[in-house]
Point group: C2
Chain length 151, copies 2
DNA sequence: TTGCTCCTCACGTCACGTGAGGTGGC
DNA sequence: TTGCTCCTCACGTCACGTGAGGTGGC
C-alpha cells in the first residue's frame, strides 16, 4: 500500500455553483468578503477547489441570506456566530469542566432560538398571504361553477 | 349643507414611508418605475399625496417583494397582473356575456394558482430550515439535561 | 496538443442611500 | 413669517453581471 493521501472529493467552482444554484461570481465575491472559509489551496492565481463540507457551508450561507434577507454584512455576523458555535462544539467534545459546558450549551440554545423566531415570523407572514390568495381562489372557483351550472 | 367634497384622508410621502416601513426614496423610485398607481395629483413639482387605498397598495407591493424576493421587473409583472384582475373584476361586476365571464374567471384562477405555487415553494424551504434548526436545538437541550442530571 | 474551465481586472447594472440646493404648505 | 417637509437632480454604494484578455488542468 502506497502512502497517498485519502482521495478527498474535490470540486471546481463551476460545479459548486451549479450544485448550490448560484454563480461563480457570487462565490468569489463571498470569498473576498470573508463570508466563506478561506479556500484550502494556499492562494492566488490557482484554481480553487472545494470539499463537500465547503459546499454544505456555502449552501447554508445562501439559505440564510435568502430566507432572512439580510445584507451581506449582517450575514457575515451570523456566519461568524455560526463558526463560533462550531468552535464551541469542538471544545465541548473535548470538554471537561461541566460549568463551562453548560454555559456553552445555553449560548447555543440562545442562538438557535433566535434563528427559529425569525423563521417563525416569516412563516406567519407567508401563512396570511397564503390564506388571502386561497380565499380569493375559492371565490373565483365558486363563481365558475355557478356560471357553468346556470348555462 | 355646503357642497364641499368628502374629506378624503390624504397623507404625505414621509408619513406613508413611516406607516409601511420604507423610505421616501423607495416610494419615489417605485413610482418612477410605474410600480405604483400614478399619483392622483396631476404631476410634477408638487407634493405627492396618498389615499388609504394607495397606502394599502404599496404595502401589498412591498409584501410581495419581501416574501417572494423577486426583482422589481418581475414584481412589476405581478402587479400588472394584479391590476388586470382588478379591471376584470369590474368588468365581471357589470358582466353580461357568460362566455366572456368564464374566460375572465379562468384567467384569474391561473394567476392566483401561480402565486400560490410561489408561496408554497417558499413555505417548503422554510419548513426544511425550521426542521434543521429544531433538530439542533433538541440535541443541545438533551445535552443540557444530561449534563445537569449527572451533576 | 486541443478544448474547456479557470483566473484576475474592471466596467456595467439594479435598487436604492445620501446629500445639495431650492420650493411649497400647515 | 418661520420651520418643517417636500421637490428634483445627481453622485455614491451594495451585490453582484458581464465581458476582456490570459493561464491552468483533464
Amino acid at each position: 500500500m502506497s502512502t497517498v493521501t485519502a482521495p478527498v472529493v474535490t470540486l471546481r467552482i463551476g460545479d459548486v455553483a451549479k450544485l448550490v444554484g448560484t454563480t461563480t461570481r457570487t462565490i468569489r465575491y463571498y470569498e473576498e468578503l470573508g463570508l466563506l472559509l478561506a479556500p484550502d489551496s494556499p492562494s492566488v492565481g490557482k484554481h480553487r477547489s472545494y470539499s463537500e463540507a465547503e459546499v454544505a457551508h456555502l449552501r447554508e450561507v445562501l439559505r440564510l441570506k435568502q430566507l432572512l434577507n439580510v445584507s451581506l454584512d449582517e450575514l457575515k455576523t451570523l456566519v461568524e456566530a455560526e463558526e463560533a458555535r462550531a468552535a464551541l462544539r469542538r471544545e465541548l467534545r473535548a470538554g471537561s469542566d461541566p460549568q463551562r459546558t453548560l454555559e456553552l450549551l445555553r449560548e447555543a440554545v440562545f442562538h438557535l432560538t433566535r434563528q427559529l423566531e425569525l423563521v417563525h415570523r416569516r412563516q406567519r407572514e407567508l401563512a396570511t398571504l397564503e390564506a388571502d390568495l386561497a380565499g380569493r381562489l375559492d371565490r373565483v372557483n365558486k363563481r365558475i361553477s355557478e356560471t357553468t351550472r346556470s348555462r
